[in-house]
Amino acid sequence: METIDAIMAEHPFFKGLDPSVLKIVGGCGSNVRINAGEYLFHEGDEADRFYAVRHGMVALEIYVPQREQVTIQTVGAGDLIGWSWLFPPHVYEFSARAIEMVRATSFDGACLRRKCDEDTAMGYELMKRLAQVISQRLGATRLQLLDIYGPAVHTK
């Protein structure tokens, strides 16, 4: 059976990390399977975990009064879900629902925060990678906000 760190090594977020670092990070992880329709977490819950998705698709949802659950983004294999575990008050800002069966590595946020504090070089490397994910999502969100598919201003 493959160990967690060996599975993690294949995930784009962890690719290229030193095996010793993978082992330390993997110590906070476990493999999970979430069935279609089940929630990984709900908006407002304590953000104690994050997920590296290996298979399947997850909808990130926000509850909007009178519109119910609105999907703001989907993420899938090779993506990361959840960074609220990193920043106080450690509360999820959206819900995550499996659209189809999902296989992921789930990480204990508190465990990883502690290890990052103890080994700041490792913590810095992980933060750089996480910042890249956040930056990509921010860029995509900006494009979404532009409503680019609307009609052009000067039209015939």
């Binding site: 609105v70 899938g76 494009l143 532009l146 039209t155």
Partner: protein, 281 residues
């Protein structure tokens, strides 16, 4: 550019076409099938456009969205966005309009033989790409892996939903569809179309990318493709500008030294790159 693209004579006289089918696609978009009054079909290559003329109202450039490899009616998908397009959208079966064309340079489907293809469409941008997709499917053995990435505002704004469903069911096409926002019943991607590029399977060094959509979307797609290693000379974009004469005389559609009507609307990125994100161009 594709050597098989037919270059129309710079004829400024419209030919009379009759609407034989009018199909509403979206709340603001219709597809018209047109038949020539002279009886002869209009041959074109994927990516070219015609000037459609509603007599007494005006003329607009509209991409051809039918099948280039099959003789049949001339097909145009039109989004109603102004006086002329609104008048065209309102034409009923039996009514006539003027057609000049086909004009311009199309998608490089001959030059892309043997390559993987990444075809990216945003919103109404799927209409100019539909002839390319249909031609690729008709000659599927000529190409390597083929990915079609489609973005729209919401699931209700997706163009050609039945055809998309058919394309998704094919084993020899990877089709990824994304929308900017959706309800809980939507089972595909939500997010911008650029996010789909990382999902597409292709060998960057042997890939031709064809993009059509809002210019800002194309710019970001180009950046993502570059990150994946697709060269600028293998990336093609379809530009939209205020075209009047369609034959390079009037200069209305000029981008730097290029005329969109004559040198485009499909350009290799290398021809446009200095002007692609330049203000005021």
């Amino acid at each position: 550019m594709d050597p098989l693209c037919i270059q129309s004579d710079p004829d400024l006289t419209p030919r009379l076409f009759r609407v034989i089918r009018h199909q509403r696609e979206l709340h603001d978009t219709v597809t018209l099938e047109l038949e020539s009054g002279e009886g002869s079909p209009l041959y074109f290559c994927a990516g070219q456009f015609n000037m459609l003329y509603v007599f007494g109202i005006g003329e607009v450039p509209i991409s051809i969205s039918g099948s280039p490899h099959e003789p049949g009616p001339l097909v145009h998908t039109i989004r109603s966005a102004g006086a002329v397009t609104q008048a065209i959208s309102g034409l009923k079966r039996g009514q006539t309009l003027g057609v000049r064309g086909p004009f311009g340079q199309g998608w490089p489907l001959e030059a892309a033989t043997g390559q993987d293809l990444v075809i990216i469409a945003g919103g109404i941008g799927l209409a100019p790409l539909r002839p390319a997709v249909r031609q690729v499917i008709a000659y599927r053995e000529r190409y390597g892996k083929v990915s079609l990435l489609v973005g729209a505002r919401t699931p209700d704004d997706l163009l050609y939903p039945a055809e998309l469903k058919e394309w998704r069911s094919r084993f020899d096409l990877q089709v990824h569809i994304t929308v900017d926002s959706a309800g809980a019943d939507w089972r595909s991607h939500v997010g911008v179309v650029t996010m789909l590029i990382s999902k597409a399977e292709f060998e960057a060094g042997e890939t031709v990318a064809m993009i059509c959509g809002p210019e800002v979307m194309m710019r970001f797609c180009v950046m993502e493709l570059r990150k994946r290693g697709v060269a600028a000379e293998n990336t093609y974009v379809s530009m939209e500008r205020n075209m009047k004469c369609a034959v390079g005389y009037c200069g209305h559609c000029q981008i730097g030294p290029k005329f969109v009507c004559k040198d485009g609307p499909v350009f290799p990125l290398t021809h446009l790159e200095p002007f692609f994100s330049m203000r005021g161009v």
